[in-house]
Subunit: 286 residues, 2 copies
Amino acid sequence: MPEKLLEPNRAPEPISLLVTLDKHYVPQLLVLLTSIYLNNPGEEFQLYLMHNNLPKACRQRIAVCCRKFGYSFYPIAVPDELFQQAPTNSRYPKEMYYRLLAAQLLPEQLERILYLDPDTLVINPLRPLWQTDMQGELFAAAAHVGKTDLTKNVNKIRLKTPTDYYNSGVLLLNLSLGRQEIVPAEVFRFVEEHEKTLLLPDQDVLNAMYGRRIVPLEDVIWNYDARNYGTYMLRSEGLCDINWVLKHTAILHFCGKAKPWKPHYIYRFGALYLHYMQLAERMLNA
Amino acid sequence: MPEKLLEPNRAPEPISLLVTLDKHYVPQLLVLLTSIYLNNPGEEFQLYLMHNNLPKACRQRIAVCCRKFGYSFYPIAVPDELFQQAPTNSRYPKEMYYRLLAAQLLPEQLERILYLDPDTLVINPLRPLWQTDMQGELFAAAAHVGKTDLTKNVNKIRLKTPTDYYNSGVLLLNLSLGRQEIVPAEVFRFVEEHEKTLLLPDQDVLNAMYGRRIVPLEDVIWNYDARNYGTYMLRSEGLCDINWVLKHTAILHFCGKAKPWKPHYIYRFGALYLHYMQLAERMLNA
């Protein structure tokens, strides 16, 4: 009989993951979970899903996937009433607050949690990220460095923040501290006052309100913009070539409009994503 | 506890694999075996390795890998004396005969075996190939269709065969029939007589001697030349795009001089191969 290859001796402390999504992103979440499973042998995960009326069939598909992988699954239906005082509309749906207010919405025993966008793919172990020293800050996140520093500077001016513009797609949350320091009413007030200048609501609020309270992560390892291979190569003077990326990068982020599961995706990591779609389908329908 | 995800109910009949390699290709074999394991849940494999003085440490690495995957492993040291009458030199090493004479060299109870070059990667299940109807022929193989039919026609003339020029990197062998019909002395005589026109010894002999006894396989599924994405697209009038390939192609063949594990590999499936190198290293060193 084969050894239990993907479940050797488990590490003592499980890694807690947070996702928030609507029904359209369930297939991508299953691909992400498959990639986490195959690239984190020996790890135990618990998945928290914060949602608003996600259909039962969707929750069940996620539950079945977690059971197959041996992960605990905690769906949390976030009641609308919590956001009665919050400015929401089609551009600012209430889901935009889930990440920022996770400390208030999640069980008290959780000290930290790793939020991942469902358009990410994990290709190496997450434990080093999980064990990041939070240095007394509220979040850890990576700034996406674009082809020039132009975007970064525009965002700095727009949001009146001296820090880098952090991407909120991979976010390690210090929940213990967040319970003390993040005040929902302040977040709601900020959105109300800045309604006209916010472009990407949750990410903008994160940067404007908490930009100084973020431990910076290396984007090339923890939040690799899958469209920007050339930029990373250039920035690293050739170090971060394809060999380096596949060996060291842990999280590929398929951000932006082009998606590898949609037609005509042209970027380099598309085949890898499609292969994980196939692995996920095969493993979950076996 | 997680379900045994990659080892659900096993299929009744194991799939027998044949590889022949020297010590330089052991890392690639481990990557190939990892890809077979992850993409063939529920399957049992038995691996036959025909070799000539492969160092013990290499055989042990392969044995450890097979044990982890639950595969039986049968290393077969092929004695030099068998090839005393065979023309061999640096261009025609005796290993070139292993594939052709497998019926004579392997245990009698084996009825068929699937030979794979170690520069292949399996990304979908192999069972449909394993169950190919041999139609009373000796081999099943795929012809690589190049950008034009020029190469094919040159090879037809060179080897005086009216059939397609088959690639010998993925080869299903009808051993029962081979024991009756393949005569080692005839193979040796053919090589002796054609020494000057043979370019790729084993592949040329396969085509020239047995070209008419080969069941043709679809190369786009069973022996996809990883350099030729554009050709497959063109030939299929756009059907075999990247989505199609990741869903249907079972064996990617990294043939030719450029290899994804060497620097400066430029073709599309390089990242996928490198990721499997990483998966193999992680799973086998866990």
